[in-house]
């Protein structure tokens, strides 16, 4: 399989996953906006901070209202990670290798892009945003489903999945990092916050990674910040937890050519070992913020190693 094709497939699924994650974050932002009606609230900036788009947003000279932030992250043409640009990049990467994916996969993503262009005209961030975010998630689910149901389990499939899980792990870590670590650097447990607001914030975080039901099933108890961190980092069965994503990424790498993959496989196994054999108590002793910062650095190393092993054109 061509290195360039591997790279397009990997980025195709990373961008699609990114658009879905952005929709998840914005969906939550939009519902939190209803709790927090003060216009100059810092809360509106949270999704900008999570996705590290501070510089790009500053350039637009827009005020940091919920409506502006949502519009910017959803369909600003100049912001490289806006949902719009992620969908376009997914489609462009797919188009570059449309012969290496099934026609069902291509038609699905091409359709998404065509439909998006029609939809984008009629969206009001605060009124119909929700519907739109649901739609983005749905299209992403649909593509994954089509991939699952039609693609042969050979290299293109493994590269596609690898992109999904690396991007997803990165995103879950970022949500956790900003939602918690920013607010309570080391010992947020002791921080006195308005209990009611805290409940909504925590459940919003869980919802953003589709983990609210899983939380209830696992703990049968009130939503507690430490457990939220635990389920998002260590749960082996939750498809958006760091542990699950890295289990899957490690499996994908095991299915790729072994000779060229020595280094990325080693890094992935190292990251995976920390998740398999770690506990939430250790994390809080070490400091959640530090722990997540380390994780993001590890993920960057992994991304670089994957690129060097399979995709670089030497």
């Amino acid at each position: 399989m061509l290195s360039r094709v591997a790279s397009h497939l990997y980025w195709m699924s990373r961008y699609l996953e990114r658009s879905e994650n952005m929709a998840r974050i914005l969906d939550v932002t939009q519902s939190l906006a209803m709790l927090d009606r003060s216009a100059d609230s810092g809360g509106a900036m949270t999704p900008i901070v999570i996705t590290e788009a501070q510089a790009e947003f500053a350039e637009t000279k827009l005020t940091a209202t919920y409506a502006n932030v949502i519009a910017f992250l959803a369909w600003d043409k100049k912001h490289p990670s806006s949902i719009r640009n992620c969908i376009e990049a997914t489609r462009e990467n797919a188009r570059a290798v449309r012969g290496s994916i099934t026609s069902e996969m291509w038609e699905n993503i091409n359709d998404t892009w065509i439909l998006f262009q029609e939809q984008a005209k009629n969206i009001d961030p605060m009124l119909t945003g929700n519907e739109f975010f649901e739609w983005v998630k749905e299209r992403s689910h649909l593509f994954r489903g089509v991939t699952f149901a039609t693609a042969r389990r050979d290299q293109p499939y493994h590269f596609t999945r690898l992109g999904t899980f690396i991007e997803r792990a990165d995103n879950t870590a970022r949500i956790l990092n900003v939602k918690y670590a920013e607010e309570a650097p080391d010992s947020f447990e002791e921080k006195e916050v308005d209990k009611e607001t805290d409940y909504y914030r925590l459940s919003a975080v869980l919802r953003s990674i589709s983990a609210l039901d899983a939380y209830r099933d696992t703990y049968h108890d009130v939503i507690d910040a430490r457990r939220v961190a635990e389920i998002m980092i260590f749960d082996a069965m939750l498809p958006r937890s760091l542990r699950y994503c890295m289990d899957e990424a490690t499996k994908c790498l095991d299915d790729l050519p072994k000779d060229s993959g020595r280094i990325p496989r080693r890094i992935a196994s190292e990251i995976n070992a920390k998740l398999r054999y770690g506990t939430v108590d250790e994390v809080f002793d070490y400091g959640l913020k530090r722990y997540l910062a380390d994780f993001l650095v590890d993920m960057e190393r992994l991304g670089t190693a994957v690129n060097a092993a399979y995709m670089e054109l030497h």
Binding site: M1, L2, S3, R95, A96, R98, G99, S103, D259
Partner: protein, 519 residues
């Protein structure tokens, strides 16, 4: 019921023909349909002597059209548009801002060719392509045709498409043009003429295949009424041709594309996928010790045959255009050593140049000792002073083209041009006469086509794709292009052209009725 606008009396229409009226005959539903369109005055003026009806090989289709409610047709046309858009059957328009990816309009009324007409075209095409391949082998080796004085030496050696680097290079089986797209039109005399031979990287075959796929999906009942010869095996035939181009067993074949910004990118991905071969860009390949390899996730892999969709000059920055970022450094050296086969061979462009076109009938006589089966269009070569003065004096009646031009760019259609445009073009020609040729304006045959106002005649051409492996092969038919603007003769997709499915009828039909007037 859709009204059909009749073709002008002077046109050859593929579907409709004027004939002597027989007053006792009852009007068929199809004839009534023909009269519904606004252009009744013409049929009335002809009414006493002439009536209009479908040609025999179009009768089953005409009857079907008459019986099909227009709502059903409109619905299925909309479905076709949607499918094309979803599948992303697009081409890229150069020089256009923004939305450069466009759909190529596909008309749902097929162009139908009789079995006899096709037999004739196939014989003629085989002869023509065989002679051209012999010509290419000759001019890069012995140059017998130049020594015989049939073509002036400077016409070849001074031609920018003549690749001096190819002189003496051995091409396997002397097959230079493995894939040829020959543009054929039917004039109002009912005869076929070859307009040009595309020997470099002819495109359009994917539209031929998609048109058929779409027609079968949308109108399955039509294919039960008549035997339409299949074209779907073209990719298999192409792969066989490519594999036969080398003596290596089980060769690694790849398709080289300039990338997704190329106008024919859809076709490149489509063909690679259909043949099950790798679609590569220049950056995916490298040359080591005069062998060509592709960079894969498993490490380097040898490449034996390359179906390239990239022009000569971009293939290798070391041998040709040094600025090319699309090619593969060292490719030519590997090629010259016989370590990779490139299809089509480098340097085929010299034979499809419009200044060489007038000599093709001579080539057929010289190499094959046969009379040309297909007609050439009379061509004035502006490099000749006598031809130049004729062209300048009659420009408004002629089609004037650049000798290396393609895609409908850089040409003047005299009868359709304003006086000012003719004047300006004359100055351009005078400045560099040898860069131009001119031909009489053929009145391309028309075929009923869906347009906004209903069904109306539009001009068409035909591009069959001829494959040369150990033998010459082709699927019956080709790509029919249609000029969608009323009166326009320019069928190129970049200039507002569309396409039609092309049906060659099976032998058990008896379409001989039409054969006499087409030969």
């Amino acid at each position: 019921m859709h009204a059909i606008k009749p073709p002008p009396f002077s046109h050859f229409d593929e579907m409709l023909a004027w004939s002597e009226a027989s007053p006792h005959q009852q009007q068929t539903q199809f004839q009534m349909q023909l009269q519904q369109f606004g252009g009744q005055s013409q049929s009335q003026s002809q009414a006493n002597a002439q009536t209009l009806d479908a040609r025999p090989h179009y009768v089953p289709y005409g009857n079907w059209l008459a019986d099909t409610p227009s709502a059903s047709l409109t619905h299925r046309r909309a479905q076709a548009d949607l499918l094309f858009r979803r599948i992303g059957i697009t081409f890229t328009v150069y020089g256009a801002e923004g939305g450069t990816e466009r759909l190529i309009p596909s008309d749902v009324i097929p162009r139908i060719i009789t079995a006899d007409d096709w037999t004739y075209l196939e014989r003629g095409l085989t002869q023509r392509v065989t002679a051209i391949n012999k010509f290419l082998a000759d001019i890069y080796h012995d140059q017998a045709i130049l020594k015989a004085g049939l073509i002036p030496r400077d016409q070849i050696e001074g031609n920018s498409q003549f690749q001096t680097k190819m002189i003496g290079v051995k091409v396997p089986h002397d097959t230079y043009a493995s894939i040829t797209g020959v543009d054929i039109v039917r004039n109002n005399d009912g005869k076929f003429y070859v307009l040009e031979d595309n020997l470099r990287v002819p495109s359009g075959v994917s539209y031929m295949l998609m048109n058929r796929k779409m027609m079968m999906r949308l109108f399955p009942e039509l294919f039960l009424k008549q035997t339409v010869r299949p074209v779907e095996h073209y990719p298999a035939m192409l792969l066989q041709t490519l594999r036969e181009s080398t003596d290596i067993d089980n060769p690694k074949v790849v398709l080289l594309t300039p990338g997704r910004f190329n106008s024919a990118y859809f076709e490149h991905t489509f063909l690679a996928q259909q043949m099950g071969i790798e679609l590569v860009e220049g950056q995916d390949l490298f040359v080591k010790d005069d062998y060509v390899y592709m960079r894969s996730t498993n490490g380097p892999q040898r490449v034996d045959v390359m179906y390239r969709r990239l022009d000569d000059t971009f293939l290798d920055p070391l041998a040709f255009n040094p600025d090319s970022a699309l090619g593969v450094p060292g490719l030519f050296q590997a090629y010259a050593k016989g370590n990779i086969v490139i299809c089509n061979a480098i340097g085929t462009g010299v034979a499809d140049d419009k200044s060489i076109y007038p000599y093709v009938p001579d080539m057929i006589k010289f190499y094959l000792d046969e009379e040309p089966i297909l007609n050439n269009v009379q061509t004035y070569q502006c490099r000749k002073p006598s031809d130049l003065s004729y062209v300048l004096a009659n420009m408004k009646d002629l089609v004037v083209k650049e000798v290396h031009g393609a895609g409908g760019y850089g040409m003047l259609v005299g009868p359709a041009a304003t006086a000012k445009e003719v004047e300006d073009f004359a100055l351009t020609v005078k400045a560099n006469p040898s860069n131009y040729i001119a031909q009489p304006t053929l009145s391309l045959s028309s075929c009923p086509t869906f347009v906004e106002a209903g069904i109306a005649p539009r001009h068409i051409d035909l591009r069959p794709f001829v494959l040369t492996g150990r033998e010459v092969r082709m699927v019956p038919g080709g790509l029919t292009r249609v000029a969608l603007r009323e009166g326009s003769l320019v069928v190129n997709s970049s200039q507002g052209g569309g396409t039609k499915d092309t049906w060659v009828l099976g032998d058990e039909e008896d379409p001989a009725v039409n054969a006499s007037e087409s030969k």
